[in-house]
Amino acid sequence: MTITKPSEEQAAPSTPDEQREPLLRVRNLKRYYPIRKGVIARTVGHVRAVDDVSFDVYPGETLGIVGESGCGKSTTGRAIVRLETPTAGSVIFDGTDIAELSTARMRRLRTDLQMVFQDPYSSLNPQIRIGDLLAEPLIAHHRLDRSGAHAKAAEMLKIVGLPAAYLNRYPHELSGGQRQRVGIARALMLEPKLIVCDEPVSALDVSIQAQVLNLLKDLQGEFGLTYVFISHGLGAIKYISDRIVVMYLGKVMETATTAEIFARPRHPYTEILLDAYPEPNPHLRDRERIIVEGDVPDPAKPPPGCVFHTRCPYAQEICKTDVPPLTTGVHQVACHFPLAIEKLATEKAVS
């Protein structure tokens, strides 16, 4: 079993605006989980949760990562903030490769890199009051003393739209939407540069989702934040992202601006993903849908060639043997037979 055959460094995805330096560069990121069996726990294989992923995030933008369950988008997000140690590859944040940092230096860097978690129910410690929960990072990083940190916590609660009285509440006394606001306030306490939002609205009611998304947008304007926004919901992704990375089975399928992805998807997977997105207009619902057959393959045994060939309606012989490289440029796609732009532009109503 080969673990990592270091693939050639992928060409840096080129900048939409060539002048700007990316805040975050992810290069050939891999995260494999060993599968152990038997009494001596011998490694019999690897689950390739993230397999050779590269992208850039520019200051002030929101990069959406979309894909179905198990495509490695959450693992990618966690690797960016080093809650997962990458198996290979680099995550360069503001000029430092955080994949290589020592634990102590990484702790200091956490003040710039924060994360909003998916489940607002389990990600807040039930034993700790909201006030202490929020103040804790400031005290741990010696930014402020206890009273100063609590004052700042009260201020931050107000910013995310919660009354300061909640400082003395326990997490279980709050609703899901309120908890997620606390989760966001928590991430903001250290005034980070980059926030990774791992499905921040998936666990919330639809009516609350919009509120939280708007809050995230407002905060981005106010604090000049950069987001990596991970979601399986196209609605949320489309609403908040400037650019989108489409992932499938641990690999990047397509990267482009939000408008491009929705108007002119070039990867068959993206097309199918968009096609599965419910049409809000009932009069337009009778169009024919592309039906995908089969399941996502086992990431421990990814298919050779293009990982999507087992389900791709356009797959050819070459797709079963050769891995299509990700193209360079503003609109990047990893496909031997990318969809023709003209065909789609005429066929599809621009959403």
Binding site: Q114, D119, L124, N125, Q127
Partner: protein
């Protein structure tokens, strides 16, 4: 909370009543009449009958129970068959040493088990962890009487570090040091059993806590390993551990009976063994009642403690 407590206390009444009924009948099922034991082997059947009548043992068992219960409701636990002392006084004299022994054992056990459990959890599935789990298995498996005799042989007879038994050295006035010296060995035996069991609870509870999302959140905040372990994980891990205290207490009472006997510790356990030997029904009933109340109270306290340590738990 108040109404919950009242409800729980009211439920306790039929429970304790049931316990006394069962105990009473079981004790009376034991072969041999107390009267035989208190009279000389040459006693005539008339003597035996007279003694039984004095003790009220000639009455039907139901009548005996109702009599005992009526007495109890008047706040009287009765009189010992053997030495005619009031049962309440006998128990009162012995309960202090037992509480000292059990309390010390419980505290020592927790002081040992919690750090070791955390240690093992942090090193899950390593040689260190397996050693802890193995040692705890040994500690749970070894019977009190064996461990008791083993430590007496080793530390009292071979090394002479500690006395073989008793609570005080006669003629030394019984200072604090003397008291502690006598406590070491019986506490070792009792604490070993509790700690061995508790280590497993702490370990699995900590492993569970370490796997929670809020621990990942704490790491994302940039907190250090010490804060995460002792503030975030331990607070949550101790909730299930607290609930085990109630269960432990009943095991402790059972263990104390054997341990007190081995170390001649002048507590309730020793009194129990003596009373069983002399078929002293009234003393045994008194001890059983006290033990039942203790276990009941411990369970109630556990549930209350649960609400105290976990803000999510509220009793209506």
């Amino acid at each position: 909370m108040a109404s919950y407590l009242i409800r729980r206390l009211l439920i306790g009444i039929p429970v304790l009543l049931g316990v006394t009924v069962i105990n009473f009948f079981i004790i009376n099922l034991a072969p041999g009449s107390p009267a035989d034991l208190y009279l000389s082997p040459t006693a005539t059947p008339e003597d035996v009958a007279r003694t039984e009548a004095e003790l009220g043992l000639n009455q039907p068992i139901f009548v005996q129970y109702v009599r005992w219960l009526t007495q109890l409701l008047h706040g009287d636990l009765g009189v010992s068959f053997q030495n005619r002392e009031p049962v309440a006084q006998l128990i009162g004299d012995r309960i202090g040493p037992t509480l000292l022994l059990m309390g010390t054992s419980l505290v020592v056990a927790y002081l040992i088990a919690i750090p070791i459990g955390i240690f093992a959890a942090r090193r899950k599935n390593t040689a260190a962890d397996y050693s802890v789990v193995g040692a705890s298995f040994l500690g749970i498996s070894v019977p009190h009487f064996f461990l008791g005799l083993a430590v007496i042989y080793l530390f009292a007879l071979q090394f002479g570090w500690f006395p073989t038994g008793g609570m005080l050295t006669l003629g030394r006035g019984g200072g604090f040091v003397d008291r502690v010296e006598h406590l070491v060995l019986p506490v070792t035996v009792l604490a070993t059993a509790i700690a061995a069991n508790m280590v497993r609870y702490v370990r699995s509870s900590m492993i569970d806590a370490f796997g929670q999302d809020y621990i990942r959140t704490a790491r994302a905040k940039g907190l250090g390993g010490f804060t995460i372990t002792n503030k975030h994980a331990l607070r949550n891990a101790l909730i299930p551990v607290v609930t085990v205290i109630g269960v432990d207490l009943s095991a402790l009472i059972g263990g104390a009976i054997v341990t007190e006997q081995i170390f001649q510790w002048p507590g309730i356990g020793l009194l129990t063994i003596q009373s069983i030997g002399s078929r002293d029904y009234s003393v045994l009933m008194g001890i059983n009642l006290i033990a039942a109340i203790a276990v009941f109270a411990a369970n109630l306290l556990t549930d209350v403690a649960y609400a105290v340590v976990d803000p999510r738990v509220a009793y209506a």
